[in-house]
């Protein structure tokens, strides 16, 4: 090779010690990574374990099918239970559904705008930035926002489930947008072109080809977003309030959700048992209820995750290979 410098390659030959050193480093890093892994699992499993062990004590059908009205202290109710979380489950479902109905259509259409209509435009970049920023909005700020908004628009002292939905939807929106955006991005451009080349309008291409192809990913993204907000406490305390009875009206009256219930029961800590009470009176029933509700919450989140995966699989782009 003309003009090339002459290289003495023996100089670059790996020395024995160098090889050994690289090997050692390789093994050490492998070890370190495995250790990091195990260390991290300890607290995570401890969380799960504590919740399960403490939670199963009170988790039964009665607990799931009654609310807390008429529950006095640690005494058993007429149905033989110690109150339950039926109202909180209903509240959680309705408020989350409300948040879902607000954030999913907006979120998906926003990602459609970002990916399909204005990829790379200045405005789109600004919105992309704002979505990023929005994903960092602390949940308590979302709560304060919904609280302020309803105070100003509806009137002071407004508490209702929908107010909670508004707060949660603010938290869900960026997650939905970002995951949908990712999913739309990975829809191959080939498919769009194939559709356009068949003389299909842009709207139908997007709805019938692009969104359909991205659907499994979008659905699992949405479900993960739900799983994230279903455990919110602080914003709901200041928006949806707290009530011991079942309220099915999302737009009027306070509503309890599972995390708020957990927190409220934890706050009660203990109850007093009157001297006359039978041995069925349990003084630390609030803590037991808190753990049981926490366990239910985890199970709900778990089920949501599983559904997400299942949906992703069912709707998945079928392939034989």
């Amino acid at each position: 090779m003309k003009g090339a410098p002459v290289i003495d390659f023996d100089k670059f030959k790996p020395t024995r010690s160098m090889i050994a050193r690289r090997k050692r480093k390789d093994v050490a890093m492998g070890g370190l990574i495995s250790v990091a892994f195990i260390v991290a699992l300890i607290p995570l499993f401890s969380v799960l374990w504590t919740t399960i062990v403490n939670g199963v004590k009170r988790l039964n059908l009665n607990f799931l099918s009654y609310n807390m009205s008429g529950v006095i202290g640690g005494q058993p109710t007429a149905s033989g239970g110690y109150g339950g979380i039926q109202h909180a489950i209903i509240g959680t479902l309705e408020i989350t559904l409300g948040a879902l109905l607000i954030s999913v259509p907006i979120g998906i259409m926003c990602s459609v705008y970002l990916i399909e209509y204005s990829r790379g435009s200045k405005f789109a970049k600004a919105i992309g930035l704002l979505v990023d920023v929005m994903s960092g909005v602390p949940s308590i700020v979302a709560g304060l926002f919904a609280f302020s908004m309803f105070t100003i628009l509806v009137g002071p002292g407004t508490f209702n489930g929908f107010e909670g939905s508004v707060a949660l939807s603010l938290l869900m929106l960026p997650t939905v947008i970002k995951s949908s955006e990712e999913m739309l991005k990975i829809v191959p451009n080939d498919l769009r072109e194939a559709s356009y080349a068949l003389g299909v309008t842009k709207q139908r291409t997007i709805t019938k080809i692009v969104l359909r192809t991205a659907l499994p990913g979008i659905v699992s993204g949405v479900i993960l977003a739900i799983a994230r907000v279903v455990g919110e406490t602080a914003p709901l305390l200041m928006t949806a309030g707290y009530i011991v009875t079942t309220n099915v009206n999302l737009f009027s009256g306070q509503m309890t959700t599972l995390p708020v219930y957990v927190y409220q029961e934890y706050s009660k800590l203990k109850v007093a048992c009157p001297a006359s009470a039978s041995s069925a009176c349990v003084t630390d029933i609030p803590m037991q209820r808190a753990w049981a509700a926490a366990l239910v919450l985890i199970i709900v989140v778990l089920i949501l995750n599983l559904i997400g995966r299942l949906v992703a699989r069912v709707f998945a782009v079928k392939s034989e290979r």
């Binding site: 009205s69 007429a78 039926q86 707290y242 011991v244 007093a272």
Partner: protein, 358 residues
């Protein structure tokens, strides 16, 4: 079991020996009513609601234990029928209430009187129904970080029979704004003005020890380490040791009766501006025999007239029940509170009578 109507539990049969006589004459109340406020009252209010609804099955009552401040603010927006509060109304709040009450200004009446226990956790010494004897000055010094060891002479002298260890004292106080704090501190300030020089308020004033959110936080924190001491609503004291407080020359440990005694021995606060107000000015320095002076008095705040007559009817009948002998007993049973005396009840009842239902 089939799902109860919307999962409601029928009121428990035990515990509430249905308050038959106090409300027999009153007509049945129906409708939905909301209250909000002090969390200290929560256990009592839950019991009251259960009993009250057993007599008025068509009334649906809910109480959000959102905190005294939030309760009063919400009440002042007109969104709730009444508020529970650990503090009596401020002058400002009284005048603000003009805009929500149909007529006149809101007033407060005591409904819930509860001893505050000074709880501690000390290996080998604390335990259920175990006490340490302390006078006000020692308590003040401990909570001000002046006494830092459990075997300090001041403590030893008052507890000659106890073998006190050389453990450091960790003070645990409320980190949130709290009526409990204010009542505890006003006791300390009244009995030991030289040892406790801070201004009185609902926030903890010094930087000693650890702060914890809520009564539950204090109890949890105290339980979690050796050498801790704190104060909390007595019904939550559980297995922790509690302090017997020096009154006169005896040491008195907390009990509902002992708490009731100090309230009886205390005058009403004449400086409270506004009609119908019943504000107790606790006399912490009382030497009355067997009185326990560390007490929390919690109020219900209501209007003398409501825009909605049904609400007015409800509030009147609700308060009547709450302060009735039965109501006070239900609270005492389920929340460990001290039933109010007949003298006080008479004053309160007079105020309740002022509520216009027509």
């Amino acid at each position: 079991a089939a799902l109860g109507a919307c999962g409601n539990n029928e009121p428990a049969s035990s515990g509430s020996s249905a308050a038959s006589k106090s409300t027999t004459s009153a007509e049945k109340i129906s409708g939905e009513f909301q209250g909000a406020g002090a969390s200290s009252q929560q256990a009592a209010v839950e019991a009251w609601i259960a009993s009250y609804q057993s007599q008025n099955p068509d009334a649906k009552i809910s109480y959000n234990p959102s905190g005294s401040g939030a309760g009063v603010s919400t009440f002042l927006t007109g969104a709730t029928a009444w508020a529970g509060s650990d503090a009596s109304l401020s002058d400002d709040e009284v005048s603000q209430s003009k805009s929500v009450c149909a007529d006149g200004t809101a007033f407060d009446v005591p409904v819930y009187i509860s001893p505050i226990a000074i709880v501690f956790n000390l290996k080998g010494i604390s335990g259920k129904d175990k006490h340490l004897n302390l006078d006000g000055e020692t308590i003040a010094k401990i909570f001000d970080g002046k006494i830092t060891k459990w075997n300090d002479d001041a403590i030893k002298q008052q507890n000659p029979k106890v073998d006190l260890p050389d453990t450091a004292i960790t003070v645990v106080h409320r980190s949130d704004k709290s009526g409990t704090t204010k009542n505890f501190l006003s006791y300390v300030k009244d009995v030991a003005p030289d040892a406790w020089t801070y201004d009185l308020g609902e926030n903890w004033p010094n930087e000693v020890g650890q702060g914890a959110k809520g009564t539950d936080g204090v109890i949890n924190t105290v339980s979690q380490a050796d050498g801790t001491i704190g104060y909390a609503d007595a019904s939550k004291a559980g297995d922790l040791g509690t302090v017997a407080v020096k009154v006169g020359d005896k040491y008195v440990s907390y009990s509902a009766e002992a708490a009731a005694k100090v309230v009886d021995a205390s005058p009403l606060d004449d400086s409270a501006k506004g009609d119908n107000r019943v504000v107790v000015k606790l006399d912490h320095t009382t030497t009355a025999d067997g009185a326990y002076p560390v007490v929390l008095v919690s109020y219900d705040i209501v209007c003398p007239a409501y825009k909605d007559a049904n609400t007015a009817k409800f509030v009147k009948s609700w308060l009547t029940y709450v302060v009735s002998e039965d109501g006070q007993k239900v609270a005492a049973d389920n929340a460990g509170s001290a039933p109010m005396s007949d003298t006080l009840r008479a004053k309160v009842t007079k105020s309740i009578e002022a509520i216009k239902t027509k």
